[in-house]
């Protein structure tokens, strides 16, 4: 046992690790607090002390989480499905960047994202290596509850808890031990409302939000409250949400955004795009000036389609478009 908890008094332990008091109370051992002068070993057996020691380890890690900020992630190429070396030998993605990932089904997009999530060390089928801030990362990125490198947002996700928006955000903030939760909840709610266009109240149950509102809340919540420095987005449907602003929010909260998409507008919104095929990164391209100009035209087309959708919804005919 690293801390020799058995030799310390209750008072000393509480003074040094204040969160222990709550942990003991949660485990039905709250009465220990009534005898501050007693040694902890009088109440807890070796296994319990060991558990508590582990809990303190984790909490110390957790509370120190902000000290080492992830500013970039580097993927070193491995091998393709046929065993040939990966054409892109190295890819570094930095905080504030949006990287699009494109490629046919089965081309290896999921494996690339899984390699990042698992912080591969040449020990996955692709042989890739992933480093964080140029260093071979700690095991904690693989196995702990709070250090997950990648947060995910996908079209299939739903809220399943029967809570209001406010209760829901509170619960999340609590589990993240967030500082200043009220301010964070306000910020999430404001942003989600801006993204969704159709406002919702803090006391709306999360399960009755519309598709666009849910997506907006998920994005704003992930941006503000998720500990993961990388956000993986699996398409953002072009309905009921301002996609450019969604990306802006994630960037502003210093996330690295990886986006698997086949939507031309989303793909051109990225800073770079990675082409995946045959299980390997084939090349990395930046949008050209021409593509950027086309983005304007694509947006106009998109708006036109949205307009037609709206007219359909209103019961109109589409004889004239």
């Amino acid at each position: 046992m690293s801390r020799q908890l058995e030799t310390l008094t209750v008072e000393a332990v509480f003074a040094r690790w204040p969160f222990v008091q709550q942990q003991l109370a949660d485990n039905g051992l709250g009465e220990i607090a009534d005898r501050p002068g007693a040694r902890l070993a009088e109440f807890l057996d070796t296994d319990q002390l060991d558990d508590l020691d582990g809990f303190i380890d984790v909490m110390e890690d957790f509370l120190g989480a902000n000290e080492e900020k992830v500013s970039e992630v580097t993927i070193t190429g491995g091998r393709a499905k046929d065993g040939s070396p990966e054409p892109v030998a190295e890819l570094t993605v930095k905080v504030g960047e949006v990287i699009c990932i494109v490629g046919p089904t089965g081309s290896g997009k999921s494996r690339l994202l899984a390699d990042i999530e698992w912080v591969a060390r040449g020990d996955t089928p692709t042989g890739r290596h992933v480093t964080i801030n140029g260093q071979v990362p700690d095991d904690k990125w693989r196995f702990s509850a709070e250090y997950k490198l990648v947060a995910q947002l996908s079209q299939n996700m739903n809220f399943v808890m029967d809570l209001s928006v406010e209760e829901f955000l509170n619960l999340h903030a609590e589990s993240r031990l967030a500082t200043d939760p009220e301010q964070k909840i306000q910020r999430i709610w404001n942003w989600a409302n801006e993204l969704a266009g159709e406002p919702f109240a803090l006391d709306t149950p999360v399960t009755s939000l519309s598709g666009g509102q849910s997506r907006a809340l998920m994005i704003a919540d992930t941006a503000v409250l998720s500990s993961s420095p990388v956000v993986l987005i699996d398409e953002i449907e072009n309905a009921g949400i301002d996609r450019q602003q969604a990306l802006d929010i994630l960037i502003r909260e210093e996330k690295i955004v990886l986006m698997a998409t086949h939507d031309p507008i989303l793909a051109l919104m990225g800073d770079r795009r990675v082409i995946i095929n045959n299980g390997a990164m084939q090349k990395v391209i930046e949008p050209s000036e021409k593509e950027k100009a086309n983005l304007i035209e694509l947006r106009a087309l998109d708006e036109k389609l949205m307009g037609l959708r709206h007219r359909l919804r209103m019961g109109e005919r589409l004889d004239e478009i």
């Binding site: 582990g54 999921s110 899984a114 509850a145 996700m157 619960l171 993240r176 919540d221 409250l225």
Partner: protein, 251 residues
């Protein structure tokens, strides 16, 4: 042989996780097997067999499933060794929440799903608390926030376990889990090893607090599986009446 015990509430995705994880080991040329424990009925053995996995099943019937498990686990390990398996997995379903099939010095996995509600990690107790690795499933259909809240609840119950997210449908995360299985300790026998948690009371020696494994320690209502049924023999897999009858095995 590496032996892994897998537990988890019903429908949490144990079988899917095991199938996906073993697939990686099979690809690497390893011989793998599963012993499936259940209460009244299971046809998961068919699924395993279809995937080229050696399998035995044991149905506890009217016996307490936890006691049934511990009364048979050594014989299962010996069966796995005879079969020349590299990895043997025991899958326990139908355990009560008071219980845990996890054995000291044997890699213990608990599978629990995001849809089961944030109260569940506290409710299921020993099988989660005593696990080395907690696998969280169904993360693809709930929000990131709910995943984080759920993982933190798991973490509060078991501060030491490694927590992995595995998708039982796409297999995402199963490769990573498989590396932990191949890294497990070798097990030649579980005779004399101890359960991590004593079992709840029923009607045999284990009801009296026995935690040691092996026939020498078993008294009272103990029922042995028949692991040696002839090839092609098929049982109906139905529940058995209370009594010292053989059940469940097929090949």
């Amino acid at each position: 042989m590496r032996f892994v015990t897998v537990s988890g509430p019903p429908s949490s995705g144990k079988t899917a996780v095991i199938l996906k994880t073993l697939e990686h080991l099979q690809k690497a040329g390893q011989k793998v097997g599963v012993v499936k424990f259940d209460c009244l009925f299971t046809d998961d053995d068919e699924l395993y067999r279809k995937n080229g996995i050696a399998v035995r099943k044991g149905l506890a019937g009217a016996l307490c499933p936890d006691h049934y498990f511990v009364s048979n686990v050594e014989e299962c390990v010996q069966w796995g060794l005879q079969e020349g398996l590299d990895v043997l997995v025991s899958e326990s379903a139908g355990l009560c929440n008071r219980c845990s099939p996890h054995i000291r010095e044997v890699l213990a996995i608990c599978v629990i799903d995001n849809l089961s509600g944030t109260g569940t990690p506290k409710k299921i107790g020993p099988m989660l608390k005593a696990a080395d690795v907690v696998v969280i499933t169904k993360g693809d259909i709930v929000s990131q926030a709910e995943r984080e809240v759920f993982a933190s609840r798991v973490h509060m119950v078991n501060t030491k376990a490694r927590i992995l997210h595995v998708n039982g449908i796409t297999g995402q995360g199963s490769f990573e889990l498989s590396t932990l299985w191949t890294g497990a300790e070798e097990t030649a026998t579980v005779e004399g090893k101890k359960l991590r948690f004593s079992m709840p009371a029923a009607l045999c020696s284990y009801c009296l607090g026995e935690t040691r494994i092996g026939s020498d320690y078993q008294m009272g209502n103990v029922r042995k599986m028949d692991l040696d049924l002839p090839t092609g023999f098929k049982t109906d897999g139905g529940p058995q009446e209370l009594g010292p009858m053989d059940t469940g095995g097929e090949s």
